[in-house]
């Protein structure tokens, strides 16, 4: 099929070394008139610097309030193929593991019933099938269900939890992020499929401080792996690294808490009590250093992208959570904590207010008291910063600071 629309601006984006989304859409457009119209509308948006999508509305599958993101062209007469161009969110497997057979089946359904374009994966983590028409949604849902997949979250609901590859492929993993993610996903199906919240709520599970899911910036509740004991050091391997590069310049001087030193005679020394588990030294010398053996997680709360108020990073809520122990009880403690957080949000939150914004509004002290946690000095908004602990010994009678 020849191209129906001229796309000189999009053609510019096919140049260069990186794979181009324009090439992929053009390949799909060879078989689909719908996708050809998509190219035309995107080109027009680039020319006018105006978005021509409307989103939302009353699209979905029966019984579910989530999983379908309604998308309509505001130029349906000019681009009839994309008059309806909905996104279907499919809950990804933990860690993004697929067999090639399943991948083929996922794609076959997309080719048969939609534009055949996918996002692997959307920023929440789901597989996103693009360009479904309203009339095809139930069929698409049924076919993915037969394949063993379910829809993910959208709207004012629990969004599809996501995780890093964890212990399946990563030597830095401090807990089984895939197991935790899968268990929490299964436990809160109702909250994911039937929007009941003030706004969206996201969980992300990263098994170490490298935070491959970027949870600290994107999740309302982040579960990031850490360890309690000392970094494991192989001094012989440290010496090998010292022959390859300047350890002071690339490792010890870059330590954010300056808790490590190195000299050829004594080797590498780490004051683990001051280590903030930033992972820099371990990432730089992976053959010499490894996280400690007493793994667990830090639970953080409240990050979000700009919307009602500006962007926020998460703050520490639970400094050390023995997640592997809790896993033996099917994450009972964690689920209870989540329920208390949601109850507080439900009671005091307003429409379109994320949990982080609510905490900012009512104060962290009130929040942690309501969910039954004890205030701890480690509950920090940023390293070396504490948003709410009042050190009374520094305050004299009458409110003057001593």
């Amino acid at each position: 099929m020849s191209k129906k629309h001229k796309t000189p601006l999009l053609d510019e984006l096919k140049k260069g070394k990186w794979p181009s989304f324009v090439n992929e859409i053009e390949r799909a457009a060879e078989k689909s008139e719908m996708t050809d119209d998509l190219l035309g509308q995107v080109e027009q948006s680039y020319e006018e610097k105006v978005v021509h999508w409307k989103h939302g509305g009353m699209v979905g599958v029966k019984g579910y309030g989530s999983g379908i993101v309604g998308r309509f062209s505001d130029l349906p007469e000019k681009y009839p193929g994309i008059k309806e161009f909905h996104t279907v969110r499919i809950n990804q497997p933990s860690g993004f593991f697929y067999t090639s057979d399943v991948l083929r089946s996922i794609v076959d359904i997309g080719e048969k019933h939609a534009s055949s374009l996918f996002n692997f994966h959307g920023s929440t983590g789901d597989v996103q099938l693009l360009g479904a028409k309203t009339a095809e949604l139930e069929t698409i849902f049924q076919e993915y269900t037969k394949l063993g997949f379910d829809l993910g979250g959208s709207g004012s609901a629990l969004r599809t939890p996501s995780c890093c590859v964890g212990k399946a492929r990563c030597e830095f993993a401090n807990y089984d992020a895939m197991h935790a993610c899968n268990s929490i996903t299964q436990a809160f199906q109702d909250e994911m499929h039937r929007p009941i919240f003030n706004y969206k709520f996201k969980f992300k599970f990263s098994a170490c401080g490298n935070d491959c899911t970027a949870s600290i910036a994107r999740a309302d509740l982040s579960v990031i792996g850490t360890w309690k004991d000392s970094i494991r050091i192989d001094q012989e391997a440290v010496k090998d690294y010292a022959k390859k590069f300047d350890l002071h310049k690339y490792v010890t001087d870059k330590c954010p808490t300056k808790c490590m030193s190195y000299n050829a005679e004594e080797g590498l020394k780490i004051d683990d009590s001051n280590c903030s588990k930033c992972m820099h030294c371990i990432n730089t010398m992976p053959k010499a250093l490894r996280p400690g053996t007493k793994g667990g997680a830090t639970i953080l709360i409240g990050s979000k992208a700009p919307m009602v108020s500006g962007p926020r990073l998460s703050m520490v809520l639970v400094p050390f959570y023995d997640i592997e122990e809790d896993a033996k009880n099917d994450y009972e403690w964690f689920k209870d904590l989540i329920s208390k957080i949601w109850e507080f949000w439900d009671e005091y939150g307003v429409n379109r207010e994320r949990i982080g914004e609510l905490i900012q509004r009512v104060g962290i002290g009130n929040f942690i008291e309501s969910i039954g946690l004890e205030p701890l000095p480690e509950m920090v908004a940023s390293p070396r910063g504490n948003p709410f602990v009042l050190y009374e010994e520094y305050v004299e009678a009458g409110g003057e600071q001593g």
């Binding site: 979905g60 029966k62 989530s66 993101v69 004012s156 609901a157 039937r194 009941i196 919240f197 379109r352």
Partner: protein, 76 residues
């Protein structure tokens, strides 16, 4: 919650959405609060209202919509 209360609760939810159709978009959470208060004398809990919403959307009497946030609506 008795079966009779359940039927009344479901009717009350549908009537609320009907009454405010094209005037106000009710979030499921708003409906829960409204019904919990309305049926408090009958011992209806938040979970009862959530279950009623679930049954109503499963049966197709109500559907979900989205406009900057999720809301409940009558089928078009």
């Amino acid at each position: 919650m008795t079966d009779e209360t359940k039927v009344k609760l479901e009717e009350a939810i549908v009537n609320l959405i009907k009454e405010y159709a094209n005037k106000k978009r009710f979030k499921p959470g708003d409906v829960v609060k409204e019904m919990e208060s309305k049926f408090s004398a009958s011992g209806v809990t938040k979970d009862d209202v959530k279950t009623a919403i679930r049954d109503l959307t499963d049966s197709g009497r109500l559907i979900y919509g989205y406009a900057g946030g999720s809301f409940l609506a009558l089928p078009e």
